[in-house]
């Protein structure tokens, strides 16, 4: 029987980051939780601007930064030194279980996409990182584009595209940027471990309807979407309050959001999507949320 997790105050985010990097205390931080500050109001509408502003205030309190700028705060500079062809992210963790998680997720996304080359599908991935899933779609013969705020990641995708001579094109841009330049161009838009970095996800969900062809679908995987985790997600959406996440947010400045499943599904359904969940018993990374438009 494990003891109760340690509770930190937001002001202790820096201390948590330090302890996270000390082997003797790392596990304790991973199991710890952060308490919401006393000024945090729980009576705000999660779809309204004051709620969003309050989450931004929480982010500022954790990071000590003044203004959230995705192109600055979501950067991962160390990836520029990784070989995007031989050891992209999922292989560079030096951990077979990590690679296995990501590869299972990739396989699940590919299968649930239901796409074949005969359909000549056009696919868009947001927050693609090294773009390994996008690359696999492209190697099947599909037309794939990626959007990422990080120039370094886009450069890695460009290197893969050129190496494999496939129809894969990266674009530096923000969530919602439409590389096609015209509405209803995509059969599939997918997110892997990226949707939860989008602060303006409500606008994005409605934007997805414009991006997709009739009958098109959105797939989310590797996203922190929870059904019952009040200590980590005590609100419909917001910064996750587990120790590791808050510590990393403090150090990196990333926007590390999470979602209660009911809230997120209702948001997509209100935008006109049909919902289907594809759980995976072997890895939560491979649990896929499928949102489809009608033909």
């Amino acid at each position: 029987m494990s003891s109760q997790p340690h509770l930190f105050e937001i002001e202790q985010a820096s201390e948590a980051w330090h302890l996270l990097n000390v082997p003797a205390s790392s596990q304790q931080i991973k199991e710890a939780r952060f308490r919401l500050p006393t000024w945090y109001r729980d009576d705000l509408d999660p779809l309204d601007t004051p709620y969003r502003d309050q989450q931004l205030a929480l982010w500022r309190a954790i990071t000590g930064r003044s203004e959230y700028q995705p192109d600055r705060d979501e950067e991962t500079p160390e990836i520029a030194s990784l070989d995007p062809l031989r050891r992209p992210g999922l292989y560079s963790a030096n951990d077979a279980a990590v690679a296995g998680d990501h590869l299972m997720a990739m396989g699940h996304i590919l299968k649930i996409s239901g796409l074949t080359a005969r359909q000549r599908p056009r696919i868009l991935e947001y927050g693609a990182g090294f773009g390994q899933i996008a690359l696999t779609f492209a190697r099947i013969g599909f037309c794939v584009e990626t959007v990422d705020i990080s120039a370094n990641y886009c450069n890695a995708v460009a290197a893969s595209s050129e190496h494999y001579k496939v129809d894969l094109t990266p674009h530096i841009g923000a969530f919602g940027y439409n590389p096609a330049g015209q509405p209803h161009a995509y059969d599939l838009v997918f997110f892997y471990e990226s949707f939860h970095h989008c602060l303006d996800f409500q606008l994005l969900v409605h934007r997805l309807v414009e991006l997709l062809k009739p009958g098109g679908k959105v797939l989310l995987a590797g996203e922190p979407i929870v059904t019952n985790a009040p200590d980590i997600m005590p609100y419909p959406w917001g910064i996750r309050l587990d120790g590791e996440n808050v510590a990393v947010t403090h150090a990196r400045g990333w926007m590390e959001l999470g979602f209660q499943e009911d809230f997120l599904v209702r948001l997509f359904e209100a935008a006109g999507f049909r919902f289907r969940k594809h759980p995976c018993a072997n890895s939560h990374y491979a649990t896929v949320y499928e949102f489809s438009l009608s033909d």
């Binding site: 959007v147 995708v157 530096i172 919602g176 439409n178 330049g181 934007r207």
Partner: protein
């Protein structure tokens, strides 16, 4: 683009917009400091009066160029700016000024002649929300789609340029392996890659991929060089090396274009004891005309007596003056080695 990357909503295209866009090209500077025009080869026939080559950006002050360009694009509602190297940097700058719908660039960081166009100055022009359109007849403010294609040796610095443009624009990022900046303009000029890109944009089709350029470049410039085994005396007391260039590409070589683009047959000559990084050189100038597919052209390279008296090895290949040797880019060469003794037999 706003924070959500909002694009303009779909609208009915006005009659004037059904015409293709005006393509405004910004030349790089060639090794002699002149506007390098190879990029624009063969575009006249495709674009006609939809091609505007903005040479003035290299020789005039930026405010003057800005005013002149705004005047030159008057009444044009769709503009695409493009360029290589220094010209690419100019295309980024003036593409924002002119409210271009696209800016297509290759190696914008490789800009030896663009000191006045530093990255910061270019980035500032992309703050379209802060600056009104420069002229009422230009399109309303909107961020252009920016294409940046990097060469094999400009990737890192092009990324820095791309980062300086964020987050005001969406940037399409691509790269070409095995084609360095020095060979890029020739690669684009000698293939129909740019024409295919223009046609694709005009018809709303997918753009050609960079590896198509690499493949076309290797095909369009395919050739063989054969050297005769002996030397002959030249008029100035030296020797002449003879050989033939065979066009093994599927299309004719334009000799006139070779001359304009400073392409020659050249020899790098090394004698025993020479610094291999400082070879002697000789050139054959093509003149004019065309070399049809499959045809051969005889050439003659004059070798000064004093340069080869100790014997030599000559490596003969096509060269784009001041930029690159073709045999460094996976094209062939021919090598002839002649010892000093053999030269004596030939009257040295």
């Amino acid at each position: 683009m706003n924070a959500m990357g909002e694009a303009a909503p779909a609208v009915r295209v006005p009659m004037q917009n059904r015409e293709g866009p005006l393509w405004v090209g910004f030349p790089d500077s060639d090794p002699l400091g002149r506007p390098s025009l190879a990029l624009f080869s063969n575009l006249d026939g495709l674009l006609g009066d939809r091609l505007l080559i903005a040479e003035e950006w290299l020789s005039s002050e930026l405010p003057t160029v800005r005013a002149r360009l705004i005047e030159r694009v008057r009444n044009r509602h769709r503009i695409i700016c493009f360029g290589i190297g220094a010209g690419a940097r100019a295309a980024l700058l003036f593409g924002s000024v002119l409210r271009a719908e696209r800016v297509i660039t290759w190696a914008p960081s490789a800009a030896p002649g663009a000191g006045k166009l530093d990255a910061e100055a270019v980035a500032l022009t992309y703050d379209t929300t802060a600056s009104p359109p420069p002229s009422p007849h230009l399109p309303s403010p909107s961020a252009p789609a920016v294409h940046i294609t990097s060469c094999s040796d400009t990737v890192d610095t092009d990324i820095a340029v791309a980062r300086s443009l964020r987050p005001a624009v969406g940037i399409r990022l691509e790269r070409i392996e095995e084609v360095p900046y020095s060979a890029l303009e020739q690669a684009l000029a000698q293939t129909n890659y740019l024409s295919r890109m223009i046609t694709a944009i005009d018809h709303g089709r997918s753009l050609p991929k960079p590896h198509h350029l690499q493949r076309s470049w290797q095909s369009a410039f395919a050739h063989q060089i054969v050297l005769e085994p002996g030397l002959s005396p030249s008029n100035d007391g030296g020797f002449a090396l003879h050989g033939t260039l065979r066009n093994s590409s599927p299309k004719a070589f334009s000799i006139g274009q070779f001359e304009r683009d400073l392409i020659r047959i050249g020899a790098r000559i090394i004698s025993p004891g020479d610094d291999p990084t400082q070879p002697g050189s000789a050139r054959f100038y093509f003149g004019s005309g065309a070399l049809e597919a499959g045809a051969t052209l005889p050439f003659r390279l004059e070798l000064p007596r004093e340069a080869i008296a100790r014997g030599f090895e000559a490596r003969v290949a096509l060269v784009c003056e001041g930029r690159f040797w073709f045999d460094d880019q996976q094209f062939p060469n021919a090598i002839l080695g002649v010892p000093a003794d053999a030269l004596k037999h030939q009257g040295a």
